[in-house]
Symmetry: C2
């Protein structure tokens, strides 16, 4: 790759130097049939020599399609990172490029989506906080949209997510198996999927015929929320097990329990949700429900690609079965199995 003095080399430059037409270079670069092996070699060598890289913009513009999949995500969210990594891999395997658009405190989801539209993405995957129902529906009517990891409120959008009923069910079954009967749920408040998990918890509670009303404690999506819930649980009387909305929340619970002198899992078992890195640390070893981000990503991309090809199923929702990852924060309740 030799350094160019001026602007980057174009197809034209390569064509001139190799003594062929622009079109032929294009054919070679794209790797489509229509050139002899000899010419192909020669063109490729010339391109290499000039340090040629196709101009994405021009390419997309000319091709009339962008082969671009847009992704909105919250930075600094382990689950999103995981899914995004999977999207990169899956998209590239299908010949698509990925363009990221971050949602932050100062950058609303609407703004993030607009950026994707400006790039003329052919399809979008939404991970982060969602735009309003109406806007989402409009977006989904323009291009194929998959919402990952949370239910969507727009009928035109696809959804790929882990079944909360299954995930929560798995966790509660596990705790019941160990002998727990006093199980509390620290919920996610108004976070994505929190309502579903809450409902799933109530259903599991009923299904197992546990005593009393399902014990749902106000929580939230962050460590702080978990910590607050832990304080409340300790002062109001501990259950024997707690199922948290997500891993961050569970970690907050865990860390606060430690500080309050509550022993996990001896006095109380804790189960998280997400299988994120913070829970995997050696000194936490959080038992958790795993959502396979790579699998979700790959399914989302597949779904988009088939929508673009017009061959997608009518069913919009794709539910994936989660797995329970058993680690060190669950055990039989203190008094042994009743």
């Amino acid at each position: 790759m030799s350094k160019q003095s001026g602007r980057p080399p174009t197809l034209e430059d390569v064509a001139a130097r190799a003594g062929v037409s622009r079109a032929l270079v294009s054919i070679v670069i794209r790797g489509v049939p229509g050139a002899s092996e000899a010419t192909r070699q020669r063109v490729l060598e010339t391109a290499e020599e000039l340090g040629y890289r196709p101009d994405g913009r021009a390419r997309l513009l000319a091709a009339g399609r962008s082969r671009l999949i847009g992704v909105t995500l919250a930075l600094n969210n382990p689950f999103h990172s995981d899914v995004t990594e999977g999207i990169y891999a899956a998209a590239e395997a299908c010949g698509y490029q990925v363009v990221l658009s971050a949602v932050t405190g100062r950058r609303a989801p609407e703004r993030a989506v607009e950026t994707l539209l400006d790039y003329r993405c052919e399809a979008a995957i939404l991970l982060g906080p969602l735009v309003a129902r109406q806007a989402l529906q409009e977006l989904a009517q323009r291009l194929p949209v998959v919402v990952v990891g949370q239910p969507s409120h727009a009928p035109a959008a696809d959804v790929v997510r882990v079944s909360d009923a299954d995930g929560v069910g798995l966790a509660v079954d596990h705790l019941r198996c160990l002998g727990h009967r006093l199980i509390a749920h620290v919920d996610g408040g108004r976070s994505a999927g929190a309502a579903q998990r809450r409902a799933a918890f109530r259903a599991a509670h009923r299904r197992h015929g546990l005593p009393g009303q399902p014990h749902v404690v106000a929580g939230g999506p962050g460590e702080e929320d978990g910590a607050t819930a832990a304080r409340r649980l300790v002062s109001d009387g501990l259950p024997t097990a707690v199922l948290a909305y997500n891993d961050a929340c569970a970690v907050g619970l865990l860390d606060m329990f430690v500080r309050l002198g509550v022993s996990v899992p001896r006095q109380v078992s804790v189960v998280g949700y997400d299988d994120s890195p913070v829970g995997r640390l050696s000194y936490r070893r959080l038992t958790t429900v795993s959502q396979d981000g790579h699998q979700l990503a790959s399914l989302a991309v597949q779904r988009l690609v088939s929508r673009l090809a017009g061959s997608a199923p009518a069913e919009r929702q794709l539910l994936v079965r989660p797995a329970l990852v058993l680690r060190g924060t669950t055990a039989e309740p203190a008094g042994g199995r009743p």
Copy 2:
């Protein structure tokens, strides 16, 4: 914004409907002078009516420049998230767009940089793990590059970062003021900037005339590394204060100390570096050295813009003074001030 049946509307469509030329619509949309107020209004209304959005790609292609700033970053890194948020704001204020390219376990920095090149970014900000020295130098010769938050090994690249000497100095001064004399540093191993902070710690140790050799413990950039170091410190004998490589590492120390029954700050004071959200949690209240991500971002963007304008200073390194954020993990040593 009315829904289009087919492809998105173009300048041409707006022009036809408004009864003016394409060029004039372009003028209005770009907001440059050259149209009467009346026409401007009419065109704007028509554009709105059709739901017109300029095609970024075509725009950039035609303009001959992209007004694009590329950013490579590690997802799920609080410092990077913070800086990225700042970059969005600063870039948009200067009329630049931002394109993100993630570096992940499966996506090497080289790949991330290539993507930026394909987008024909005019300049790049590198946050994540860096490409090799040679590649970085080549990149920086092609376009203005700013490395944020860590020293770069390529003479052609700009660097914007917090002065490690100042940051570490601030932390050690604070501990000395409280009366600490046995201060250890849990380092970052081979992480970005770790060597600088290590050296700064040794220098501060010398400057304060502290007894013995500077006590540097092998650490790393994550919680796990901090936790491991904590175990070692406890078994080898505690200092009265520890300065960690970064907040994640400090949090690992903190959480392991709690689990080992070591009281912070009563038995040992802990200082972090980065001021990331995990340290701000109410039950940790980590004293830390703050790198103002937004400020770094804004300086980086400014530097790029002036490089592009050909008016940048010859000095490539821009050192920012950090601040010490006093919270709850530092106090006088157990025996009081000696």
